[in-house]
């Protein structure tokens, strides 16, 4: 009896060791599979990851319901870009683990265009598609040597949203046409703000220092880096933006951080009167303040125009279904799809034809006092200066540090000290 049990135990131990060793060997030999392509059948799954709200749910549902579809699609939605960026980065570094199509945020695109990063993405260039999108946006997805690594999904031409009821209370012109004059340049905008807060002391002029800072710096031609990717954050134009928002932080700004609870709360408690408004912000306002009446959109933007956001669809080279991925990315960014997505998510399409289709429909939004949203966005898109700002490979990193610098001022640290910390942080990036 005891002999049997000893040998049994011995066998068990040997087996356990063998299993472990086998596990080790397979674990070590697992990364040689890249590059091999496999054709997808009707019920095989092509995967895609998006973040926030791309408005693809209905499109993908319809695609999968179609009996003639060449393959099935499964979408993963991550709630915020910053979270997805981390997984995307580690997936690229590991060379495995990403979906066949990945959504990339526009501000981060320059980093993926850099040498060493761009060869992790499939070249999506297609002579038939070159004139499909807003040119500036299309070029943002292209490397210096002409490799196209992303198809534009949407653009973020900015208008200004404002609370007409609060404007009336402050004795300001509140209808869309006459209010536009208050947004003709930044000086007028800030001067009006100072008048406004005197009349309505419990409401601030704008939603956050960060959003105004971003709007202003995106009108600077070279905010952070020069044309040859040299980091140059300590320049007078950027400092001017920083000093301006610092100056108005105590009087005009809510001094809260964008996207956080306090910021959200301000939508419903008359916390602020104006905010920079790209198309995708419309839905955010509606969701945050469904019962507030008085929101309106003005067809103007201080200092001309500006773009905030807009994303791309890319195919990483680690995908085993690159052909199908390219095909599906093409489908999602064609005119009909972008119109459909725009109607769900409120994004302004980067596809030119889609923009036209929306303009022809000329939908009016009852929530925003029947503002002709697509017409306004089309006008705002035309006002965005091409190639401004220049986004270098560290644009998104430095932008993060800059937002943090403005937040420090909001929290009471002196602008000079905050600027110094900002420059230190920028230095640490290289």
């Amino acid at each position: 009896m005891s002999k049997i049990s000893t040998s049994w135990r011995r066998g068990l131990a040997a087996g356990a060791v063998a299993t472990l060793l086998a596990g080790l060997v397979t674990a070590c030999g697992g990364d040689d599979a890249g590059g091999e392509q496999a054709k997808l059948g009707k019920d095989d799954v092509l995967t895609i990851t998006t973040f926030s709200n791309f408005g693809y749910e209905g499109l993908i549902k319809d695609w999968n319901a179609d009996p003639d579809r060449p393959f099935t699609v499964k979408e993963t939605v991550i709630s915020e870009w910053d979270t997805w960026k981390q997984s995307l980065t580690s997936g690229l570094q590991a060379g495995t683990g990403l979906t066949d199509i990945v959504a990339v945020e526009g501000d981060a695109m320059p980093a993926f265009l850099a040498e060493g990063a761009s060869d992790q993405f499939v070249d999506l260039s297609d002579p038939d598609l070159e004139d499909r999108w807003i040119e500036a946006k299309y070029l943002e997805g292209q490397t210096a040597d002409g490799k196209q690594i992303g198809y534009p999904t949407d653009a973020g031409p900015e208008a200004f949203c404002y609370r007409a009821d609060l404007f009336k209370k402050a004795g300001l012109p509140s209808d869309r046409e006459s209010a536009a004059a208050l947004f003709k340049d930044w000086d007028t905008y800030f001067a009006t703000g100072e008048k406004f807060v005197k009349k309505v002391p419990n409401t601030k002029w704008y939603d956050s220092t960060g959003s105004i800072a971003q709007a202003m710096l995106n009108q600077v031609e070279f905010p952070f880096q020069t044309k040859d990717q040299k980091v140059d954050a300590d320049n007078p134009e950027l400092r001017k933006v920083f000093d301006t928002v610092s100056k108005y932080s105590p009087t005009l700004s809510t001094q809260v951080v964008q996207w956080k609870e306090d910021w959200m709360a301000n939508f419903t408690n008359d916390g602020f009167a104006t905010m920079p408004c790209p198309g995708w912000m419309f839905n955010n306002i509606k969701d945050s303040a469904p019962d507030v009446k008085g929101w309106d959109i003005v067809d103007a933007f201080p200092g001309g125009g500006g773009n905030w956001g807009g994303s791309f669809l890319s195919v990483p080279t680690q995908s085993k279904h690159q052909e199908e991925a390219k095909e599906f990315a093409n489908y999602l960014t064609n005119a009909e799809s972008e119109v459909a997505a725009s109607k769900v998510a409120g994004n302004f399409p980067a596809n030119l034809e889609a923009g036209q289709m929306l303009a022809e429909e000329n939908a009016k939004d009852p929530y925003f006092n029947n503002a002709p949203t697509s017409e306004i966005l089309a006008n705002r898109a035309a006002a965005v200066p091409a190639g401004v700002p220049f986004k270098g490979d560290k644009y998104s990193d430095i932008l993060g540090l800059f937002q943090q610098a403005t937040q420090r001022v909001d929290e009471g640290i002196s602008p000079d000290k905050s600027w110094e910390t900002f420059l230190q942080g920028v230095e640490g990036l290289s």
Binding site: T6, R9, R10, A13, A14, A16, V17, L20, L21, L24, A27, D82, K85, Q86, T89, L92, Q93, A94, G95, A111, F112, A114, G116, A117, Q120, V256, V257, Q258, W259, K260, E261, D262, A265, D393, K394, D397, G400, Q403, Q404, A405, Q407, R408, D410, E411, G412, I413, S418, T421, Q424, G425, G428, L429, S430
Partner: protein
Amino acid sequence: MLRTEEPTSAEGAKQAPSAGAAPSRMEWRDRLSRWDVKFSPYLYVLPFFLVFAVIGLYPMVYTGYLSFFSWPRFGSGHGPFVGLENYAHVLTDATFHKAFWNTFGIFLLSSVPQIMVATVLAALLDTQLKGRSWWRMSILLPFVVAPAAAALIFGAIFADRTGLVNQWLDAVGLPMVPWHADRFASWTAIATMVNWRWTGYNALIVLAAMQAIPRDLYEAADIDGATKIRQFFHITLPSIRPTMIFVIVTSTIGGLQIFTEPRLFDTNLRHQGGSDFQYQTLTMYVFNTAQTATDPYPRAAAAAWILFLIIVGIALVNFLVTRAFQRRSLS
């Protein structure tokens, strides 16, 4: 295996029925059983060490290796050898210095009161309370609450404008505390979360040690007329010395690796531990460094090794001080 071999040895036995065969078979069995005694204990512990080697040792060694190389962001493999450059970058980084003092501050604000309260709590639970098990179990309750859930609760308590504490302060006419902007206030808030979670856990460990103290020591002290407080300092504390050292060392390590609480406390978009890095800890620094623009992984690896050495150093000092102190109180 055995089946195929058996006939051969049986054959061998038939061919040579003389003296030689039987002892050789005996010898084989003998050797097997000797090996069994000698080697099977190692076999039994081997699985643990294999798993440890794969998920513990290997990453640590590889991290050390990586810290001497460059690795461009988004690249799929590491670049050339760069010597100590990554270490130099981390050690001269102003954010790292800040993170170091933040970690140290939060550690002192959490570990010190935590262990003192835990010991007193254990001493109180070591008395003849009614419903002892119930009391003892309930102090462990915070420990089983998921840290993320706890962070939500404390987030509501320490919110800058709408938080519970600030509303109370406001109601009695005191100024509100900028929990996320002031360095010391943020440390206090984070240390509160840590203490809430770990005090009960440590108290239970200390309690277990206290219960192992022979009761006749206390009876003798009672007869001699020693007060309860005197008994605590002269019997209880010296008797639980090894456990105290264990609790102090583990909470030192835990305190220096603190990550979840400050990260979830952070209201920043980029989770840098406050707009001015007021409460970025060293582990957060390691994590954030792995996301930056230049050589993210190697620099994070260097920072991780520096953190490791700091922890070893402090744990050692901790151990020596505690031992010296306890020795003196024993004599």
